[in-house]
C-alpha cells in the first residue's frame, strides 16, 4: 500500500527539520519544489550526481556561496543572484556556461512560499542563461543557525578553442573598459537594510553576462586580455587585483566612470564610495588599444552594456597603484578597501 503523504502546503507551510533528514519529507521537498522549479532531464533521473556531455575545448569550473541579506531585494533575490554570480564567474574566462550545482542550507521555519519563489527565480535565471542546474543538496539546520537560507553553487563551462584570458596578458597601454554603471547592486541591497528608505528605488544590476562576453570575444578576439566581474569590493578591488596579478598599474579617469545619480546620491548620504560598492551584472575588460573601439561599440550595442565606457589605461608602475584623475582636476589612489566599507558619522 502506498503511504499517504500530505502535499507540501506551499502557501502556509514552512521547512522543518524533517525536510533535511533524508527521509520522505526531504524527497517530497526536492521533487515537489526544486525539481519542478529547475525541471530538466538530468535531475529527473534522481541520481546523487549527473553525468553530462561536453563539447571539445578547455573546461572551467567555479564555486561560490551566497549569504545575502535581505534575501529579496529590488531587482532579484538570492536565487537569481546565485545563478547570475556563478554564470558570470564562468563567463569571465570567456567560457560558455553549461551546468550548475546548487546546495541549500535552510533554517528551520523558512517559509515554503519564499523557498518556491527563490527556486523558481533560479530556474528562470538558469533557463535564460542556457545553463542547467543538474545536481544539488538540501540541508536543514535548527532555528538561529542560519540567516534564513544560504546557497552554494558550482558551475562548469567550456572555453572556445584558442581563447585564453589571463591577467599576465595585460600590457602597458591597454584600455580599461567597464560595461555599465557602478554600485547598483550594493546600494539596492543596502537600501533594504536598516530601514534606509530612498526616494528613488535603486534596482540591483544582477544579470548573467555570458552573452555580452560571447559578443565581446567575437568583436575583440585576442585583443581582449582578461575580464573580471567587480562584485564584492567593487571596481576598486577588481582593478587592484588585476594590477597585482599583471605587474602593472592603472590610471583611470573619474569623469569617465558611469554611476547612476541615485546611486551617487545614496553613497554620498552614507559616506560610501561607489568605486568600492558591489556589482552583480557588470564586468571590467582589459583590452588591447587597437581592439578597444570595436569591443566598446559591441558592448554598447548589447542591452547589458549600453552604458559601457572606456575609463582608463594600464601603465607601467612598480608599486601597482590604481591612480585616478579626479573629476575635480586632482589625483588620488584608488586603494584596496581596508576591512568593510562602513558608513561614516561625519
Amino acid at each position: 500500500m502506498k503511504a499517504h503523504q500530505r502535499k507540501l502546503d506551499i502557501k502556509n507551510g514552512c521547512v522543518d527539520l524533517s525536510h533535511g533528514s533524508g527521509g520522505r519529507a526531504m524527497a517530497q521537498l526536492i521533487s515537489g519544489l526544486f525539481h519542478s522549479a529547475f525541471g530538466n532531464e538530468w535531475l529527473a533521473r534522481g541520481n546523487d550526481q549527473s553525468a553530462f556531455d561536453v563539447a571539445a575545448g578547455r573546461m572551467v569550473m567555479t564555486t561560490d556561496g551566497y549569504v545575502v541579506s535581505p534575501l529579496f531585494f529590488p531587482g532579484g533575490n538570492i536565487g537569481s543572484l546565485a545563478v547570475h554570480g556563478t554564470v558570470n564567474d564562468i563567463a569571465m574566462a570567456g567560457a560558455r556556461p553549461l551546468y550548475l550545482s546548487a546546495s541549500f542550507i535552510i533554517e528551520e521555519g523558512f517559509r515554503f512560499s519564499d523557498l518556491k519563489m527563490i527556486a523558481e527565480s533560479m530556474g528562470e535565471a538558469a533557463r535564460a542563461a542556457g545553463v542547467h542546474i543538474i545536481t544539488g543538496d538540501t540541508k536543514v539546520v535548527e532555528r538561529g543557525k542560519a540567516d534564513g537560507l544560504f546557497i552554494s553553487t558550482a558551475g562548469v563551462g567550456v572555453v572556445p578553442d584558442g581563447l585564453d584570458l589571463s591577467a599576465e596578458k595585460a600590457r602597458v597601454g591597454d584600455r580599461v573598459l567597464i560595461s555599465g554603471t557602478l554600485g547598483d547592486h550594493g546600494v539596492a541591497i543596502m537600501s533594504k537594510r536598516q530601514n534606509l528608505a530612498f526616494e528613488t528605488e535603486i534596482v540591483s544590476d544582477s544579470a548573467s553576462l555570458h552573452d555580452l562576453v560571447a559578443k565581446m570575444v567575437t568583436a575583440g578576439g585576442e585583443g581582449i586580455r582578461l575580464m573580471r566581474d567587480p562584485t564584492r569590493g567593487g571596481l576598486a578591488a577588481a582593478l587592484n587585483e588585476i594590477a597585482q596579478q599583471s605587474g602593472l598599474g592603472f590610471r583611470v579617469q573619474e569623469e569617465a566612470i558611469p554611476v547612476k545619480p541615485g546611486v551617487a546620491a545614496a553613497c554620498e548620504l552614507l559616506g560610501l564610495d561607489p568605486l568600492y560598492v558591489a556589482n552583480e551584472g557588470k564586468l571590467v575588460a582589459i583590452v588591447a588599444p587597437e581592439a578597444a573601439a570595436a569591443v566598446l561599440a559591441t558592448m554598447r550595442a548589447h542591452p547589458l552594456g549600453c552604458d559601457a565606457a572606456d575609463i582608463g589605461e594600464a601603465v607601467a608602475d612598480d608599486h601597482h597603484f590604481v591612480q585616478m584623475a579626479t573629476s575635480f582636476g586632482g589625483g588620488r589612489i584608488v586603494d584596496w578597501l581596508s576591512g568593510e566599507q562602513l558608513p561614516r558619522i561625519c
Binding site: 582636476g329 589625483g331 581596508s338 558619522i345 561625519c346
Partner: protein, 380 residues
C-alpha cells in the same frame, strides 16, 4: 546630484586654483590646518593637493571624532558591550577603532557581544522600545554637530519614560582642541608649530556659529575661515586664507554663509546646554588630556548616563611611544616622517590616531596620496 555637483565644477576649480597661484607669494610658505576630518577626506578624495602651489601646504588636524577617541574609551565601550544584558548601539565607523592590544568592537561582536550598527540616534531609541527586557546603550560620539541629536534622544527617552536606555557620552568640542594644538605643553617636546591659518569646520559652526572662533583668531593671531566640505568650498576657503595672510589680517571669515550664522543654531545650543556640561579634562588620542574639551550628562540626567548607571571605571592606555601622531596633528611632522607609517601602522593595523579612521591624516595619505611620495622620490 543637485546641491552637490554645483560645488564640484572643474572650471570654477581651475579659476580658484589660478587665483591661489597668482596671489600666493612664492617667497613665503602658507601652512593651513584643516581641523576637521571631513575636510581631510575631501582634500584627499578630490586630490586638491595637486591643485595648490608647492608653497601652500595643508596640514591635516585632529578633527575626526573617531580618530581622537583614546584606546581607553574604546576598552571601556568593549567591556560594556560584553555585558550580556546590554545591546550596544554604535555608528559604523567606530567598529574598527582599536582599543588596547588590538581589541575592537568588531572583534567583540564576533566573540558574541550584542553590538548593533545604527545610522541615527533614533534607531537606538527604537531598539530600546523593541527590547524592554534588555539595557540599550548608545555610544554617543562626535563634535558639536552630532551632540544635539544625542540631546534630543535623551529628551525623547525621558518623554517615553524608557528605563532601559542610556548613553556612553564621548562628545567633544572643537575650540579647546584647536587651542591645544597651539599652546599645549607638549609643544616643548615636539617643536615649533608652524600654522599660518585654520580652515574651520562648517558643520560644527552650523550649531555653534562663527563667534567662538573670534577669541581664538584674536588671541593667537591666526586667521580662521569656516569652510564647507565640497571641494569648491575648500578651494575658496584656501584663497580666503591666502588673502588674509597676505594682508596680515587674522579674522574669522565665513565661507559657508549658505548655512552658517555668527550665532549658530540657538535652539540646538540651548538643548545641548540643558543636558550636557563640561568635563574638566578629556583625553584625545594623539593630543593627550585637553582641558574642558569633552561633555558629560548633567546630574539631572544621570539615569541616562551609562558611565553612572553601569559604574564604569575610567581606563587609560598609553600611546605607542614611537608614534608621531602628536607632532603630525600639529603640523610639525608629515605622515612619512613617522617610522611606523606604512610599516606596522596601516589602515588594517592602525597604531596611532592619525591612521585610525579614513579621515585621519596618515590614513588619508596612505589611502589616497602615497603615490606622491614615490613621484617625489623619483623626481629627486
Amino acid at each position: 546630484m543637485k546641491y552637490a555637483d554645483e560645488f564640484r565644477d572643474k572650471e570654477i576649480a581651475l579659476g580658484l586654483a589660478n587665483a591661489i597661484q597668482s596671489e600666493a607669494d612664492p617667497q613665503r610658505p602658507y601652512r593651513f590646518m584643516e581641523f576637521c576630518g571631513g575636510h581631510t577626506h575631501a582634500i584627499s578624495r578630490y586630490g586638491l593637493e595637486d591643485m595648490l602651489p608647492k608653497n601652500v601646504r595643508m596640514i591635516h588636524g585632529p578633527g575626526c571624532p573617531v580618530c581622537v577617541l583614546p584606546a581607553g574609551r574604546i576598552d571601556m565601550a568593549i567591556r560594556l558591550a560584553e555585558r550580556p544584558e546590554i545591546i550596544f548601539c554604535v555608528y559604523g565607523d567606530l567598529m574598527r577603532v582599536p582599543g588596547s592590544q588590538g581589541a575592537s568592537l568588531l572583534k567583540a561582536k564576533a566573540k558574541g557581544a550584542d553590538i548593533r550598527m545604527v545610522y541615527s540616534t533614533i534607531d537606538a531609541l527604537r531598539i530600546a522600545e523593541e527590547n524592554p527586557q534588555r539595557q540599550i546603550v548608545f555610544f554617543a560620539i562626535g563634535f558639536e554637530t552630532t551632540t544635539p541629536p544625542t540631546a534630543v534622544m535623551i529628551r525623547l527617552a525621558e518623554k517615553k519614560q524608557l528605563a532601559n536606555f542610556s548613553v556612553f557620552c564621548n562628545h567633544v568640542l572643537t575650540p579647546p582642541a584647536m587651542q591645544n594644538i597651539l599652546e599645549s605643553p607638549d609643544i616643548r617636546n615636539i617643536g615649533r608649530v608652524e600654522i599660518d591659518g585654520f580652515v574651520g569646520p562648517a558643520h560644527v559652526s552650523t550649531i555653534i556659529g562663527t563667534a567662538p572662533y573670534e577669541f581664538f583668531a584674536e588671541e593667537f593671531g591666526k586667521p580662521v575661515v569656516i569652510s564647507g566640505f565640497e571641494p569648491l568650498d575648500m578651494m575658496q576657503a584656501i584663497l580666503m586664507l591666502v588673502r588674509q595672510v597676505n594682508e596680515n589680517r587674522h579674522e574669522v571669515e565665513n565661507q559657508y554663509s549658505r548655512a552658517v550664522k555668527r550665532d549658530g543654531n540657538l535652539r540646538a545650543k540651548e538643548e545641548v546646554s540643558d543636558i550636557f556640561e563640561l568635563r574638566d579634562q578629556f583625553e584625545w588620542r594623539g593630543l593627550g588630556q585637553v582641558p574642558y574639551s569633552g561633555l558629560k550628562l548633567k546630574r539631572a540626567f544621570a539615569k541616562y548616563d551609562a558611565e553612572a548607571r553601569f559604574d564604569m571605571k575610567e581606563l587609560r592606555v598609553a600611546d605607542n611611544p614611537a608614534c608621531e601622531c602628536g607632532a603630525i596633528l600639529r603640523g610639525v611632522k608629515k605622515p612619512v616622517d613617522c617610522k611606523l607609517f606604512g610599516t606596522v601602522c596601516t589602515p588594517e593595523t592602525p597604531i596611532g590616531s592619525c591612521m585610525v579612521s579614513s579621515e585621519g591624516a596618515c590614513a588619508a595619505h596612505w589611502t589616497y596620496g602615497r603615490f606622491r611620495d614615490h613621484q617625489q622620490r623619483r623626481a629627486s
